[in-house]
């Protein structure tokens, strides 16, 4: 199938470019530092927390906070970023060249001349990036899981948080591809994708700080849906929100490419 031929080519291109490796190395190093600090904090307070009836465990203090700072922002504000916060920067950098790069290299018309439909191109590139992002997520999860044999892990909570992160990465990836489809240069695509991601995450922060509980703004904000999953609550409404964002972004990218073939 043509989508998988595109995915295979894009994966190859992704893995031979230094950008993906540099991003992976830097972020995994930073997250390894975060992991060490979290383990240290957990070891220090383990006995005190164990004495509390509903005290936090290894999953709450180490495993899930590796994925996001949401749970630790109140009690551990000085810690470096979690995966979710890093993704806001990493995903735009990864996606910026997907279509804007083809445009600036002059290879975009070649795809059309090879009979590739805009859908095949967008979907193939999306799947390739998703594979990379899933591997990145697995690499980060491997750190807390390496101590799982000696700890009591809440597998359900961790799985929900991992699902939330995967959906967030997929949504940011789709937004990045859409920005890349509209932008003339990769840098513009990265900036637009970064701003959109930040806006989606922090959309309801102002309202919450002002004590206003606006249902629509809360629904629109990515943080609303991600928070629930990070806290271990899997709701089909939250999953549907992410799937909706992914679908809208990919449809926009497909339409833009189709229009480009018509416009020249």
């Amino acid at each position: 199938m043509s989508v998988f031929a595109v995915t295979r080519l894009e994966l190859r291109r992704l893995f031979v470019r230094p950008l993906a490796w540099v991003l992976a190395a830097l972020t995994v190093a930073q997250l390894a530092g975060r992991f060490m600090l979290l383990v240290q904090i957990f070891a220090t307070h383990q006995i005190a927390w164990a004495a509390q009836p509903a005290g936090p465990g290894y999953t709450d203090i180490v495993a899930v906070p590796m994925l996001s700072s949401i749970l630790t922002s109140g009690i551990l504000p000085m810690l470096p970023f979690g995966l979710a916060e890093l993704a806001l920067v990493v995903v735009p950098l990864l996606t910026m060249s997907t279509l804007a790069g083809e445009r600036s290299h002059g290879t975009l018309p070649l795809w059309f001349a090879m009979g590739q439909s805009p859908f095949d191109m967008v979907m193939g590139k999306f799947l390739a990036l998703l594979v990379w992002l899933a591997l990145w997520l697995l690499l980060v999860l491997a750190m807390p899981l390496s101590l799982a044999h000696g700890m009591t892990l809440d597998w359900g909570k961790l799985a929900a948080a991992a699902l939330g992160l995967l959906l967030m990465l997929a949504a940011l990836c789709a937004i990045g591809i859409a920005c890349s489809a509209y932008a003339s240069h990769p840098a513009i695509a990265a900036a637009a994708s970064l701003m959109l991601g930040l806006a989606l995450v922090s959309l309801n922060v102002g309202a919450l700080m002002a004590g206003v509980d606006n249902g629509f703004v809360n629904w629109l904000a990515m943080s609303t849906h991600l928070d629930s999953l990070i806290r271990g609550l899997v709701s089909s409404a939250d999953v549907a929100w992410f799937l909706l964002v992914i679908a809208v972004a990919l449809i926009l990218a497909t339409q833009r490419l189709g229009a480009e073939r018509g416009r020249g």
């Binding site: 080519l9 190859r12 291109r13 018309p109 059309f112 090879m114 009979g115 073939r261 020249g264």
Partner: protein, 245 residues
């Protein structure tokens, strides 16, 4: 004697760019095994015409038929039927020569042993063996053109579209390119190539179409004794256009 197979048919094809007709009401046909030279001064509409034929650009009006089927309704026909080499070979700088050939093959639906065989054939034919592991980003302009041509020929298309293919090639490479074009035509491939050099057309083509300001001004066969006449026709058309402007 059987009638030649029509590979390409342009029917009143039109395309505007920046509000002006880049190609206006262009109609022509191309048979299997025929080599058509699309001649015109810079800005005559050659590249726009070839981009439409290759499927990279959609016409504003008219029709394009490829092997008897409506190409605009079935753009996927390009996958197996068309090989396109634009003026600057579009390559991915981070991939090697062999990776390019593999990617083009897979995107065109060729896999496994068939792909390996096609790749070996084209590497030998275009003498890419010594370059096979080199990254496209470090190739010279002539080597890039050769790789672009290899990608265009890998799937044995029925229509080969070459946009100013001899640009940046040295005389030896130009001679080799002409050899490849003749071989392809002998094997039944229809070839259309654009150039602004009359000598290029007379050396490689058996028919010429002269485009000027997006319109077809001349279409006829090339014989050995009418080069002078053709040269005069080309200059007349170009000069008339310049005076009118």
């Amino acid at each position: 004697m059987t009638a030649p197979t029509v590979v390409l048919q342009l029917d009143h094809t039109t395309r505007h760019r920046a509000g002006r007709p880049a190609v206006a009401d262009l109609s022509l046909t191309l048979d299997a095994g025929q080599v058509l030279g699309l001649l015109g001064v810079n800005g005559a509409g050659k590249s726009t015409t070839l981009a439409m034929i290759a499927g990279a650009l959609i016409p504003d009006g008219g029709a394009i038929r490829l092997n008897g089927r409506d190409f605009l309704e079935h753009p996927e026909l390009a996958r197996r039927a068309i090989g396109w080499l634009p003026e600057r070979a579009p390559l991915w700088p981070e991939l090697t020569v062999l990776e390019h050939l593999d990617a083009h093959g897979r995107l065109r639906g060729i896999h496994g042993a068939a792909l390996a065989k096609a790749r070996q054939r084209i590497v030998e034919r275009l003498e890419l063996g010594t370059l096979s592991r080199r990254l496209a980003g470090v190739l010279s302009q002539g080597q890039r053109q050769r790789l672009g041509l290899a990608c265009a020929l890998l799937h044995e298309p029925s229509l080969l579209v070459l946009d100013e293919p001899a640009n940046a090639l040295d005389p030896v490479q130009v001679a080799a390119l002409r050899g490849v074009i003749r071989e392809q035509a002998a094997a039944g491939t229809a070839v259309i190539l654009s150039t602004h050099l009359l000598a290029e057309v007379t050396a490689a083509c058996d028919r010429v179409a002269i485009l000027h300001e997006g319109q077809l001004r001349y279409d006829g066969p090339i014989t050995d004794d009418d080069h002078k006449m053709l040269e005069q026709t080309f200059f007349d058309i170009a000069m008339r256009g310049a005076q009118a402007a």
